[in-house]
Each structure stands twice: as C-alpha cells, then as structure tokens.
Symmetry: C2
Subunit: 139 residues, 2 copies
Amino acid sequence: MIDVHSMLKMCNLKRTPFRVNLLELFVQTKSSIQTHTIRETFEGRFNKATIYRAIEAFEKNGLIHKVPDINNLLRYALCRENCVNGSHKHTHSHLICNSCRETYCIDQITTPNIPSAIGLKIDYVDLVLNGECFSCQLN
Amino acid sequence: MIDVHSMLKMCNLKRTPFRVNLLELFVQTKSSIQTHTIRETFEGRFNKATIYRAIEAFEKNGLIHKVPDINNLLRYALCRENCVNGSHKHTHSHLICNSCRETYCIDQITTPNIPSAIGLKIDYVDLVLNGECFSCQLN
DNA sequence: TTTAGAAAAACAACTGAGTTGCTTTATTGA
DNA sequence: TCAATAAAGCAACTCAGTTGTTTTTCTAAA
Ligand SMILES: [Mn+2]
Ligand SMILES: [Mn+2]
Ligand SMILES: [Zn+2]
Ligand SMILES: [Zn+2]
C-alpha cells in the first residue's frame, strides 16, 4: 500500500498536516465519508473553507471520488482505480444502506454496458444500489 | 391519458389551483424538473413552503419520483409506472445530460438484475447514465 | 345548500451546507 | 536561504430547503 505522502506528491498537492490527516482518514475508512463527518472530525482544528477546498482538490486530482448520499449531501470515497489524471472512470457500483445510511463502493457488481444502438453518448455510468449493507445484515 | 383532476383524486390530494397547475407542469414536461425551476415558474404566486410541501405530497403518493440532478439539487419527474401506493419501484434508467444539464427518464435502458449470490439485500436500483441527451446531440 | 372537519396555503423566521474574496502562513524547490 | 506559490484562516455571504403557526380553501356529509 502506497503511503499518503507519496500519494499527495504524485498529485502535486503540498504535504500539509491537514491534507495528510484528511487523506489518512480516507485511507482508513472502509465505506465513504460525508462532508459533515469530515467537518466533525476536524472540528475546531481546521477551517471549513480549508476542508471544502481540500476535498475539491483531492477530487480533481483523482484521489477521491464523489459517491451518492442518502441525504443528497456531498460524500466521497477513496479512488480504488488509478484516477490520477482526474478522469474517474470507475466501473464499481455504490450501495446506499437504508439502515446505517452509509454508502459503500461495491467492486463485485460492475456497471452494465450500455448498448450503443440507442444512440446515446454515454461518458460514464453509475449504478446505485439501495438496500442493506453486509454489516447491517448481521445485526 | 388520464386528466390531472382524476390523478389528484386517486391520490387523495385535494384539487387546489396550485396543485392542478403543478401536476400539469409535470405532465407537460418531457424531461424532469428541478425544484428551482418550479419555484421560478410559480414565482410570486405561491409560497415556497407550499411548493415544497406539495412536491413532498406528490412524491409520497406516487405521482412523481426523485431523479438525480447534475447539481445535487432536488429534481423530480412524473411517474410513468403506476406508483399510487408510493413504492416507486421503477426499472427505467436516468440520463444526466452534461450539455443541457437536464435529467431524462430512459425507458429503453432498464436497471440490471443484481445477482443474489453476493448476499446483498437490494430494495431498488438506480442506473444513472452521464452523457449527452438526444436533443443536444442534434445541435 | 350549508357547514364542520381536514387539508392546503400563506407567512415568517430559521437552519446549515457550501461558497467566495481576501489576507496570512506554510511548503517546496531552486 | 529565499522567492514563488499553494494552502490555511477568517469573515461574510448565499440560498435551498425546513419548520411552526395561522389563515384560507376544499370536500364530503348532513
Ligand atoms: Mn466508489
Ligand atoms: Mn425516472
Ligand atoms: Zn449498513
Ligand atoms: Zn441535453
């Protein structure tokens, strides 16, 4: 596993204490993170403008990608594919758990191929699954 | 085509001038409508609380369904299937056009079946296509 | 047609996520 | 060590959406 310092460097982002912390938070997190949670995590220590601008930079530079959120709020997950160029052409799907209200990246289920016969120009596809996550099924 | 008065009655919603107008707006609209557009449409004539609460009632009673929006704002489209019970188990997909920024319901492309082998409990699936709509391709 | 009960509309105040402009500070590479 | 530049801090703002309460309108039954 590549360390966060190298990840930041690869993306031409300066290695500041906050960005190191933020990236570590994403690396540790199994599912995805709501901006609200990020703000709580760094409450009082870092300014919210700093937080939003760092998230934006991470997203633009292919470190994290936006995922659907049960409350329509901003939510992100670490990129699993190599998205350094910022293209974000993921093929995994996203599960929104109606129990814990988390969103998980699901590698086992990939996005379907869209038949070109219909004549739509498709850039990328997001398959959103609404149900119950593995963890919540156990409880 | 069923008239809006019957539609409202079927859903146990009172036939008020505003709700008739709002439902007619949805019936006329080919794609889907952002709440912002609805507010503009009824600007000065109806209160925004009225608007949001009517939308909520329409959604709950199976007249309209939420669709993804390019700006993460609330956006709705008329239900094509019979969703009177409010279950909203649609199988069509949604196209977000990166040119006109509209969202279209696409009946031709349906949501994939999720293999039960993985062990996830799935309630419903939304397939979100990002690309260019038919109309914008012509221009 | 009248009327009472219930639903919907209006009003007003509020919440809070996210943005923006600008200044100050920290990082990095030369 | 020292610019150049990116990032952090600060403060004010925007605006979509919510909520509580009062007033009006609709509807169905008498
Ligand atoms: Mn993902
Ligand atoms: Mn639809
Ligand atoms: Zn869960
Ligand atoms: Zn379009």
